[in-house]
């Protein structure tokens, strides 16, 4: 088995937890397999993706099974675990050509935004980005309308969750599945003499 240069392998070992690849160990795995095998894996993976995307996938508007770590993260950051699906609307394309810049609009269209009843904050979290938090928006009654548009990065195909906290104490959520053709970290591949394992991006 032909291995990558050992110094490269050690370099990756220190960075696996925060690299752009899969959070747990995928980068190390990619650093240790031979080039030929890695290529085979990529080709195989691409074929698998092609096979998957060839089947028409129904748009998944929400996920009933939120990962446990996400529920824990939300409980710590937002101090609430009682999220009800509804009210908050997340508009994103079902499929994105590139994960570098995916348009996103979050809103709570039916909130009157009065002193008594307004949206306090909206939080966007992803499931498979190296860092799950995306943005936190804070509103006041003077915002008039709880609707924000921005462009975000997605490292790969994944679920995007959106949580809204209201001034009356209720909490709402929604989720959306976004397919990403080329992940936000894919520019590593295009570097000349790329020293990084080609694991980011598609999966």
């Amino acid at each position: 088995m032909k291995r990558l240069l050992p110094e490269l392998a050690t370099e990756h070992r220190g960075s696996e937890a925060e690299g752009c690849g899969e959070p747990f160990g995928m980068r190390r795995f990619a650093g240790l397999v031979g080039r030929r095998q890695a290529l085979g894996a990529i080709v195989g993976g691409t074929a698998a993706i092609a096979a998957l995307t060839a089947v028409p996938i129904p748009a998944i508007s929400s996920s009933p099974n939120m990962p446990e770590w996400l529920a824990a993260l939300i409980a710590v950051r937002l101090g609430s675990t009682e999220f009800v699906e509804g009210r908050v609307v997340l508009e994103m394309p079902d499929r994105a050509d590139t994960g570098l810049s995916v348009p996103m609009t979050v809103s709570v269209p039916d909130s009157p935004m009065t002193d008594a009843d307004h949206v306090r904050s909206i939080h966007v979290v992803t499931t498979r980005n190296p860092q799950p938090l995306v943005t936190d928006y804070y509103f006041t009654p003077a915002s008039g309308l709880a609707r924000v548009s921005q462009r975000i990065r997605l490292a790969r195909t994944q679920q995007v969750y959106c949580f809204a906290l209201m001034s009356d104490g209720t909490s709402w959520m929604t989720a959306r599945h976004v397919s990403v053709a080329l992940g936000a970290c894919a520019d590593e591949i295009f570097l000349p003499d790329a020293k990084q394992p080609v694991d980011g991006g598609t999966s």
Partner: protein
């Protein structure tokens, strides 16, 4: 770092009580700390981590940005027209600087 350029868009005049849209776009690399440069070294994190809009001295909208916000961050949000005055935008950079810009809005 390239020059920090700001583009903003607000309606010239709005009616009192009307909700109007504010759009801003700034040039910023938003380095997320996961990328590697041509020398093979990791590019350190350098993003704008907070954005605020202050309308006549009152914060009407705020946002915390994390590394998943795209390069050259664009944002569109809304405000309620109460009286003529300035809307101040503040972008808090990781390197400690606060980029400030403002726009005058006339309420009729």
């Amino acid at each position: 770092m390239a020059e920090f350029r700001i583009r903003k868009s607000v309606p010239e005049t709005v009616r009192k009580g009307e909700v109007f849209e504010i759009k801003t776009l700034v040039t910023h690399p938003m380095d997320n700390g996961f990328m590697f440069g041509r020398d093979g070294k990791r590019i350190p994190r350098h993003i704008i981590h907070r954005f605020e809009a202050i309308y006549n001295g009152k914060t009407v909208f705020g946002a915390d940005w994390h590394v998943a916000v795209s390069t050259n961050p664009y944002i569109s949000f809304h405000a309620l027209a109460e009286e003529s005055g300035t809307i101040e935008f503040r972008w808090h950079d990781d390197n400690g600087t606060v980029h400030v810009d403002s726009v005058y809005i006339q309420v009729i």
